[in-house]
Symmetry: C3
Subunit: 345 residues, 3 copies
Amino acid sequence: MAFIKNAWYVAGWADEVKAGEMFHRQLLGERVVFYRKADGTPVALQDRCAHRFIPLHLGKIVDDRIECLYHGLQFDCSGRCVKNPHGDGRVPEAARVAAYPVHERHGMMWIWMGDAPADASLIPDYGVLDDTAAFTSSRGYLHIQANYELMGENLLDLSHITYLHDGYLGSPEQAGADQVVEEEGDHLLCNRWMPSVTPPGIFNMLYRQDGKPVDMWTRMLWMPPSCFLLDSGVHEAGAAQREDHGWYYGVHILTPETERTTHYHFAAAMPIGTRMSPETDEKFRALRRYAFEMQDKPIIDAQQEAIGDADFWSLKPVLLSIDLGPVRMRRAITRRLQAEAEQTA
Amino acid sequence: MAFIKNAWYVAGWADEVKAGEMFHRQLLGERVVFYRKADGTPVALQDRCAHRFIPLHLGKIVDDRIECLYHGLQFDCSGRCVKNPHGDGRVPEAARVAAYPVHERHGMMWIWMGDAPADASLIPDYGVLDDTAAFTSSRGYLHIQANYELMGENLLDLSHITYLHDGYLGSPEQAGADQVVEEEGDHLLCNRWMPSVTPPGIFNMLYRQDGKPVDMWTRMLWMPPSCFLLDSGVHEAGAAQREDHGWYYGVHILTPETERTTHYHFAAAMPIGTRMSPETDEKFRALRRYAFEMQDKPIIDAQQEAIGDADFWSLKPVLLSIDLGPVRMRRAITRRLQAEAEQTA
Amino acid sequence: MAFIKNAWYVAGWADEVKAGEMFHRQLLGERVVFYRKADGTPVALQDRCAHRFIPLHLGKIVDDRIECLYHGLQFDCSGRCVKNPHGDGRVPEAARVAAYPVHERHGMMWIWMGDAPADASLIPDYGVLDDTAAFTSSRGYLHIQANYELMGENLLDLSHITYLHDGYLGSPEQAGADQVVEEEGDHLLCNRWMPSVTPPGIFNMLYRQDGKPVDMWTRMLWMPPSCFLLDSGVHEAGAAQREDHGWYYGVHILTPETERTTHYHFAAAMPIGTRMSPETDEKFRALRRYAFEMQDKPIIDAQQEAIGDADFWSLKPVLLSIDLGPVRMRRAITRRLQAEAEQTA
């Protein structure tokens, strides 16, 4: 399976890796087990014993190590086997499992699965999730039955909100709004500006709840290979600048599980000062989740099923103006995959 | 997948394609969506958007067109994209999906998926289903987990009714009755004549309900690639000709879904004037359906499972006299496949 | 699929093949149907009609023959078609299904699926199951989702009982006990001697039920390709020899179903004179079954899933002293497979 390896991926919410417990997940086609040392430091190891290939997560944590359930071999946080309870106890040099750099940041557990040095400064900036003085946030997770690039295209081409999310995130007057795609280093920013439109469901809820025309914007930032940050909102039609409410940050993070499945972590960071009541706020979250789970997910899953194992380009997709962002994303991913393949070769 | 393309296949009962709704089904390995224009004309399109491959049947019907749920592209009944609501609205020439000729006849929705011109006069004649002055008819559908040729062999070799349908459609005295196979153009007619036999379950029910010996016949007509019409019945043993009751037409129509699954539409047309009471008539239909669903289907599904992905002939099936019809059918199918392959090449 | 063919395998318990009924199972990748002749002699035939490949077990037994459900062909116990009820009744020479030598012994139905002559004297000796004067026995069956070699390694390397079966079959003091592997002809004997250990759960139950230290032994005999006999027990720590209780024979018999699934028949033969009450005896059996079903099976199934379709050695398993028996088993199996391949070529 071809995934960009030298990158930070989100393995889960940081608090899913609990003290004294193991958390396991398939990431980039590899099975990985997570646990915390007694001091709380998180560890990520290949989830397959070097001896007889039993998933290590079936075992137990003993003194910051994992002990395999089958024959009691112990692996430390570097992946090295440090105890063989059998015979003379000698540990063969090859008795190792892969250990992956992990880093907790912004409430998420980040993992680096490539061979290049893991530089924590490369972790995408989701500081809005930490800024509790300015934002309140909520979060969710979906398992997508599709390759992460299909989900990434969904995020980079938000023209679909007018159709797929009509009444929830989009409204008919948005049709025809063109996307402007900007590049900032290896980041892509896909902007849509939709002046004087009826505020779609959750934006109306977020704003004045009076249905009067607003100007609406979506600004989706792609941080390769699969992290996204959306700045989206509405303000009074014709007003010069955003107000202290009526907008929020959307966090969208994709992690390939396999070639055909994806872990999708998402969150919303709402600026404090919203006009929403607790009930409206609850409804806002529920409708947003509904849009992702009951509208996006089925269509992306169906898209993958239609594509099957075919190469995406081999099916000759028609290209429209709205595909500018998605196509640049695909090309950038291909370039990085080629660069990694050349470094390995 | 190798299917005969230049032929009419039944996609469903005509009334399954309802006004204002979409009906979708996989046929010859292709996903197809059906709908009706405002004037009732049926349309069949490739069920996969040309842009991002979403099943069109998830969208909606707008002005005789299908609008894709994902980005709002609209396709007309010729398969051409006639509306791109994005950017400058230009529609790329390649923005098309396949459109298939369809024709409603005999209560069924026929589709032509090949490149040759679709000639409605080639639709097999099931006029008995339309002749309500002379026949009453009933119908059913089964999803078969096997290649359509296996089900076709079942229909062309009715010697199996003596064993598989003993007491329902067959009786022990039928054993040994030879098949006579006649060719009429590209049609095959497989006849069995079984003089002086105990009337099998449903034939006894259909006839005098006294269990006295009868002469029985089955005349199965194959109209390639996968349409069948059975004339079957009983009359007084030794009588010279059929009576106005004691027989019926069986309609058996196979449509490949995939290499290993088949849509099976069937119907019975009973000459008006039957001696059956409404209760007996109901029981007749139930037993006939039982024979297909609980006796034929399990054995054909098991046959496919035993064959797996192997080529049928590679398993060296033993050939008996009863296989004359099935073998001719297989050879005729192979010849037509080769002819189509040569035309394409 | 590469299995050793010239060997006796257990197809099932002998009493699973009942008079007048058919018993069918996939063995070494082949589907086989078993039945008994009127005189009780068991028969094993290929479970696929030579004519149209229907599973014969769907048919019926008629005069020591199987009659196929579909067209009534009859096959005798040699696999030859002896009745074709159609046309002139001639039976083609090729109308045969494979017939396999079978032998009932030790309460099990043994089958020989290779081309070499089937010599009943080669059936592994499980006479302990017949010696009702000296032993009481119980038995069980599990379907394992793994190749039989993985299950065989489990049986030949009982060091795992200390970890996987801690408290049931093993106890911590056993760690470090080395295995001694002896060869006797083509048999392997893997012995562990564990002096002065706390008696593990079921051994304590079997013995004095006082938890006092005991000497414990496990002696696992491998009779290729996949039959095992365990002599295991405890006696007073430091005592010179076994007592008339505190030990039992474990019967473990593996039969490949497919490359990735295995039939696992097991039994225990307890020397009469045990100190166990009927209640304790019942609990002993339940705990032993628990160990196999809830501890061994999940780990072996997970091991196969981790290996997937990869070649075992290609994954470079780390070799420890405990693997001496398993590795010799794998090598012996490879040698026999090569020898069979050369004979066939």
